[in-house]
Symmetry: C2
Subunit: 772 residues, 2 copies
């Protein structure tokens, strides 16, 4: 755990330069715009430890799988997030001495991620080894207004240097992935050029053949007067420009890089070059300041929809904004081929970009804070992968249209290879089905089922049907050999969560069929034709399984059992686990973890969260008390669910405690791994803790419901919710909730158990919240 | 499955050259003498596909572990069997054209492994691309009389070639392992020299620093007259000699290589060179033919102890001799630092050399067919690794002297890294304890317990004590998260075999303590001091666990349950599994295998075999019928146990059927993997099928017992058994068993339930066998 980030309501601030923290900061101060992004590497030479990272969404490389021991069913190749061309590099050579903060004496240093306006700014004063001092101010951003554009303004003042400065501006595509399985480089050069519009470098990925062109227009001014750059070094996958200038002490250089990155995903390869010139030319014509102003406007729109304001706790305010900021940088929902990588554009760790995190944790955030299309595109993403999910299931021996979505994916193919996860952590299928339900429940967009959803649900139901088997011994259906959300148990039998979600999926698939039948029988006929669904036979089987599924429970304790045999374990509680033994995933051997009863993340409770209407508060309390006492929350995805359930159980203090565990996970480098990149998907869980936990928001019968409470550490919190074409502003203060209907239609909202009709532009206040 | 090996009672014969079978033959025709060995690579150049392999026992390299996903507890390095210096190479250059069977037209080709005398012979006639024809006969062996020596005689007749032949004799240490994790080479050169005694190349392993010197004296005769070799190419880790000779058609070249391989395990590194010269000089002085005669004598002694004769089935005769031959080539028992690698000297697959195979399958073979010291050395091997086994347990979180022997090892450290095997297949500890019991039962050498055995038993008992936990739910001790012998189930709870063996170990450790106390209380006091054994406390705990262990069973079916939940699986039988689906380990995904009820190898039945006195025939029959119907025998170690138990259940036909599955496993390349090397340890299982199965041999109360039957396909079978200083020859014919006491003392033997006193040199015949 670190504590070096300064609190500020709208900014992430680092004062002073500590090389030991640099890679953490490179992650934290990352920038992106959904289409591309970048770690907060320095523009100028840095010879110290750094993880260089530039990423273009959706561009991947199928790296050949490397495992210790092969298991049948493993994918032969993994789609890997690619490190791509670095357009940022600047080299400053002051009469033979490079500007390099690793060798310079850093007099002052400040980094600020300005989240309201969406830029990264850095100021420093440094004395290089030859004794000269420079003052630098750099500002850069990835445009949310035009996601093909990024821009940099780097201002350098040579305080006391007189002599020749050689400046080199680099576009470097000769990059590699740290996590390459066979130490290969993944890019080939297609071509490069330098015209008056800029320097252009086109690279092609090996095997996949994605082409990406990076165009950079570099402009240099000396004391406001333009200087001319000339061609410099060219080598494979590398192009640069340079100039030499005689500086006087006090001279100021302004360097602008206006950048575009276009990929063959969006343009024909043959057009990339012309299109890049065009885009770059237009952006250059607009100029840095205008682009920056557009950026601020674009972010203002995002914040208008998605901000959460917290009064009375700057650290909490900063943290939630950071999480919202990063979620928006990672995924904008414009492109249904993209998804929310667990590290976004902040690192390369974990091949692939899509986990069940998207469906289980991120969908609610995007549903409430963005256009409906954004969440829809996340669902369509899985729809487009349905065929590959069916192939994936076939590899494991399933047939007849059964679909198993991959644990981790980029293009629909599996990107992970631990048998106990890849083959067994199949509950992901349940989350993908539940997200369809969640989306329809929230938006009322039944049409989605017809166009896309039902086909996915049928594939998933067919998988569950084949994945269970009849136990002669139990005279019930069982599901053997699975790994539940709690990955501290592997290859277990009858995981309550997985079995419960499977039953739910079977029922929902049949329910959805009836919805489509009622709305559009012709479309249903089409779907039946396309999927070969034999309703009579398959539904009978699904119904039988749904009715006859074994769901382990302990009647004495009145709890559901996480899996068969869970009560055979030593029932040690987390409170009795010495601090010296935690986190157990670092302190204990894997087999000790597996044998223990400790739970990595919400499992039974995850199910009771998803399907909350099926369980009463007493059952929830018994299970919560039992499992919370055994849960170590060593997944960043865990505390938010416990927070929401604690709130539901009227335990505000614990709800707040669980919230704190996720809110500043990366800002405080809680798990000592922020240097690899940020935990993007768990950031959505933090948002959920506030909105579903503290504010108690739910959707019931097509309308919003709130059961709010105010954490006692705060004076108030407020957020906006987009719901079915209306936007509500919700403010919770001690003893009151204020809801402003910013939409153009009267809306009903429930607060606790009372229904309020809220006209547009009006508010309602309910004092019941004080009861908490 | 292949069928190209010709049947012969004493030989393995391949007629004709098929490059597609070459790598299989390289395995099958391998040679070794316990100290070193070699795949049957060609001496002359071969540019086709080949797996070159030369091995020196006990010389290993700790290769850095490479896994897909790291789990705490994995070893950081694996000891790997090393491919070492190739001393054999010969190059024949006939006026610019190399002799190379990959490019030549092979007119005739014959390979023969002469097992009675212990040599490999090859004859071929080939026409090289330039049109000349050569006749070659080569013979080589690794001396069992002096395990530091190997020798080759290569005779070449240039039928129709007239011109200059350039001959090069190579010693090549620039070799690598195919299974190197990071494509590194593992040897450095220490030095090389050429004297009149031979050429010498000394190599040192990286990291471990083993030094091995290879000395080769090459002698060349033209039509019986010596030629002189001169120095040739030298490069790093490579030395060669050459000569050029004018050949006339019909000339005959005889090339001898006399070879020594010495390692710093047996000599001070500084002495290696002098010692190698000495050994090589003596061997050269003796000459090839004398060495070959000594080899035949040494093998005659081995066969006198260990042969099995089968009348009426040449194929079976060949197979059992092949198995016995390879077992003797792999392990001679002279060196307690060595063990029985699963591939012996026939391949490099599987890092490490020691598995539970040694204790579970190989000990009985060596107990009966070799000096008592041989089996004892296998046990002492584990004694010497006790400290490392304690460290290994510590890595997994155990303490207080608990010992977990590694799954695979070379030097006592773990060499495997699948968590479900490495951490969980802990039943190996049981087999290691059982081997001590088995050895003492067979030899009567109680002294072993005192010197070595008890200390190992205490460490193992302590492990089991910590590995179980009390289940409040069951009110019994349970053992969670294990993998049993049946590796088609992973991370299961309460594997009956493991739990049963754990109980047995706890009891035997206490029993052994009493034996040592009775025999030598002072030694016991020493051991208590050394191990810190708190008898009162620890024995109380062990007794409690032994009495309170949960052993899953199904009372209705009257069977033990392989593990918790086994009956939840679909109970499909092997007979209903289509041939197209087998072997399931090639046809099915790993998760399908895990979920199925199919059993890879004997598990419950393995336990009923080891501890047979605890179970009556009815219980055995019920379990046998239940589990055999579900066992696919996809481990080479499985059928022998089923064979022995079928024989015990008076089902001779099935006993024979199971025997057939192992007997020719490698000769017929049953599993399509013989090219990687032979399945050495399962060869001992074949021996067990005959001796413990068909002959029904057991040790009871210090004497041998037989319950024989004759497979109806055979006319007779006969074998010798060394037992407590006596040797018995046993011959089983239809309706009769003949036992000849070749020892010098009267001995009691049971046949069925009758005890016979057999004077030395006399025989007894019992007709009861006819009843079968």
């Amino acid at each position: 755990m670190k504590n070096y980030i300064q609190a500020a309501a709208w900014s992430i601030i680092e004062e002073g330069f500590d090389p030991a923290l640099h890679q953490i900061s490179e992650s934290i101060f990352s920038l992106g715009n959904g289409h591309m992004g970048q770690r907060a590497n320095f523009e100028e030479t840095y010879s110290g430890e750094s993880l260089s990272g530039n990423y273009v969404a959706g561009v991947y490389y199928p790296d050949k799988t490397r495992v210790g021991w092969w298991k049948n069913g493993y994918p032969e190749y993994f789609a890997k997030v690619l490190n791509s061309c670095n357009w940022m590099g600047l080299q400053f050579d002051f009469g033979g001495t490079l500007l390099d903060l690793h060798t310079a004496e850093v007099k002052s240093f400040r980094r600020e991620l300005q989240m309201q306006k969406g830029y990264l700014q850095r100021n420093f004063v440094a004395t290089i080894p030859s004794g000269s001092t420079v003052e630098v101010q750099s500002k850069r951003f990835f445009s949310m207004a035009n996601d093909e554009i990024a821009a940099l303004h780097y201002q350098l003042k040579a305080t006391d240097f007189t002599g020749t400065l050689k400046l080199k501006a680099v576009v470097d595509g000769d990059v590699s992935n740290q996590d390459s399985n066979y130490d290969e480089k993944f890019w080939d050069e297609v071509g490069k050029s330098r015209t008056e519009k800029g320097t252009f470098l086109t690279l092609r990925t090996k095997k996949t053949g994605f082409e990406v062109i990076t165009g950079v227009k570099t402009i240099v001014l000396l004391n406001g007067k333009p200087l001319e750059l000339k061609s410099s070094e060219e080598r494979n996958k590398y192009i640069s420009e340079e100039l030499a200038v005689e500086l006087q002490a006090g001279d100021v250089l302004d360097i602008y890089k206006i950048v575009t990155n276009l990929s063959s995903q969006n343009y024909a390869a043959a057009e990339l070059s012309a299109r890049a010139e065009e885009v770059l030319h237009a952006a250059t014509a607009a100029g840095f300041e205008k682009l920056l102003a557009e950026q601020a406007e674009a972010w203002a729109l995002k914040w208008a929809e998605g901000d959460i304001q917290i009064e009375g706790d700057t650290s909490a305010q900063q943290a939630i904004r950071f999480n919202i900021f990063q979620l928006n940088q990672t995924y904008t929902g414009k492109d249904a081929r993209l998804n929310i990588g667990p590290k976004g554009f902040t690192g390369e760790k974990y091949g692939g970009s899509t986990y069940w995190d998207t469906e289980a944790y991120c969908i609610p955030f995007y549903l409430s804070t963005a256009n409906q299309e954004v969440a829809k595109n996340l669902l369509v993403y899985r729809y487009k992968h349905l065929e590959k999910a069916i192939e994936n299931a076939q590899k494991l021996g399933f047939d007849k249209g059964a679909a198993l979505y991959p644990m981790v994916t980029m293009n629909g193919e599996e990107c992970h290879n631990e048998w106990e996860i890849t083959f067994e952590e199949i509950h992901r299928n349940g989350a993908i089905a539940f997200a369809i339900y969640n989306y329809v429940r929230y938006t009322g967009d039944q049409d989605y089922l017809k166009q896309y959803g039902l086909e996915v649900l049928i594939g998933i139901a067919r998988f569950w049907k084949q994945r269970v088997n009849w136990s002669e011994d139990k005279q019930q259906y069982v599901m053997l050999g699975v790994t539940g959300p709690n990955e501290y148990e592997n290859n277990i039998n009858n995981n309550w969560y997985t079995n419960t979600m499977a039953v739910w999926c079977l029922n929902y698939a049949m329910e959805a069929t009836e919805i489509v039948r009622a709305e559009d029988p012709a479309r249903l006929a089409e779907l039946i034709e396309a999927t070969g669904l034999n309703e009579a036979e398959e539904f009978a089987a699904w119904t039988k399984i749904s009715a006859g599924m074994y769901l382990p429970e302990d009647k004495n304790l009145g709890i559901f059992l996480q899996q068969d045999g869970y009560l055979d374990k030593e029932q040690i509680l987390v409170k009795d686990l010495p601090a010296s033994q935690r986190p157990i995933n670092q302190k204990w051997s894997w087999d000790r973890i597996l044998r223990s009863g400790f739970i990595k993340q919400a499992d039974v409770l995850q199910g009771m969260y998803f399907l909350e209407d099926q369980y009463d508060l007493d059952a929830l309390r018994r299970n919560f008390d039992f499992y919370e006492a055994r849960t170590v929350h060593e997944s960043s995805l865990s505390p938010c669910v416990h927070s929401i359930l604690a709130a539901k159980l009227n335990d505000g203090a614990r709800a707040y405690e669980f919230y704190l565990r996720t809110a500043r996970l990366d800002l405080d480098d809680y798990n000592n791994d922020t240097e690899d990149g940020l935990h993007i998907t768990s950031m959505a869980g933090t948002w959920m803790s506030i909105v579903e936990g503290f504010a108690g928001m739910r959707v019931r019968n097509g309308q919003l419901l709130f059961r709010p409470f105010l954490p006692q550490e705060w004076q108030s919190f407020a957020f906006k919710i987009g719901f079915r074409g209306t936007q509500f502003s919700i403010t919770i203060r001690a003893g009151e909730i204020t809801i402003f209907n910013a939409g153009d239609q009267i809306s009903n909202i429930s607060i606790f158990d009372e229904v309020y009709q809220i006209p547009t532009g009006e508010t309602v206040i309910n004092y019941q919240a004080a009861a908490l």
